[in-house]
């Protein structure tokens, strides 16, 4: 299940987020149950009245590769600044570039995303841009030097799953870098579908963190990832319009 992104090697193909958990304790247990060794984090101001409530105190850096994001940024400049802060805060050059273009849908501004990707690649970052399920833009991001491209399954936190599997398949067909389906996962089958399509990875957060039982859901996601990937590698049968008998058509006793 190894996934290589630039110079980084992930043992699990599933990347999980650390946001929205009720407690750090539940987060720790869910991360462990997911089997993931790469987790996303946001870059924010320290809470000056409670500086000890720092998430760093609840994450074993020997267990996880940190993938900081630029969530909350609306321009390439904001994302570039956040990436530079993230490099210092996390001691990593990996960055999930997320430039939002619309507050209501949280859909990405792909123009700004591409601009930020170019600058950060030049600065030596390992860039993983979050983008629309747009075949042309995925190719442009790859050409700009992205180490992986992360098209959305559907809107962030929507739980709608993969709403355009055709586009994801087309992106996968042309790509020479890992394609990680990011955002929209609602439940385990969505993860399986992504891997069955041939996705190299899946990134999810809310589907685990906001489940009734996040630890159990993390476990389900781990199994779904494994199952979906195995099914992809095994090679599914093609879909056909008409039935094909499973039992011999000869030797029927009448």
């Amino acid at each position: 299940m190894v996934l290589k992104i630039g110079k980084y090697t992930l043992k699990s193909r599933m990347i999980v987020g650390t946001g929205k958990y009720e407690t750090f304790d539940i987060m720790q247990k869910a991360l462990e149950a997911s089997g993931s060794d790469c987790i996303t984090v946001a870059i924010r101001r320290v809470n000056l009245s409670e500086p000890d409530k720092n998430m760093l105190n609840f994450i074993d850096r020997n267990m996880y590769i940190l993938l900081p994001n630029t969530a909350g940024c609306f321009t390439a400049e904001e994302a570039i600044r956040t990436a530079r802060l993230a490099r210092e805060a996390c001691s990593t050059d990996m960055i999930k570039v997320e430039v939002i273009g619309d507050k209501k849908t949280l859909l990405p501004d792909v123009e700004e995303t591409l601009r930020a990707t170019k600058v950060l690649v030049d600065e030596g970052f390992t860039v993983l841009p979050y983008t629309n399920d747009d075949v042309v833009m995925a190719a442009k991001l790859e050409k700009a030097g992205a180490a992986a491209v992360m098209p959305l399954g559907s809107q962030i936190g929507s739980g709608q799953g993969i709403i355009n599997s055709t586009n994801i398949s087309l992106i996968l067909e042309q790509a020479n870098v890992p394609i990680i389906v990011d955002a929209g996962v609602g439940t385990a089958s969505d993860v399986s579908v992504a891997f069955e399509l041939g996705a190299d990875g899946v990134l999810l957060n809310s589907a685990i963190a906001l489940a009734k039982d996040p630890v159990k859901m993390a476990n389900a996601m781990r199994l779904a990832a494994e199952s979906g990937r195995l099914a992809f590698e095994a090679g599914r049968i093609p879909k056909k319009l008409y039935a094909t008998a499973s039992s011999p058509t000869e030797g029927i006793s009448k």
Partner: protein, 65 residues
């Protein structure tokens, strides 16, 4: 001196970054300091002199997806 820390104006009796972190009870390794838009390297914390009206951002990681 008057400083702007994480968006709020404060009047603190500190002259450098170690003093600032001590004031807030923050461990050095857990944050990134940006002053007037420039990231300050940890090895420069002691020698970097704060001045009146500096805009300081004390940044760390938080939960996110």
């Amino acid at each position: 001196m008057i400083l702007k820390v994480n968006g709020s104006e404060v009047n603190l009796g500190v002259r450098n970054i170690p003093g600032l972190l001590k004031h807030y009870g923050i461990k050095k390794g857990s944050v990134v300091i940006e002053i007037n838009g420039i990231i300050i390297k940890k090895e420069e914390y002691a020698s970097f002199a704060l001045k009146e009206n500096d805009s300081i951002e004390i940044i760390t990681i938080a939960g996110g997806g």
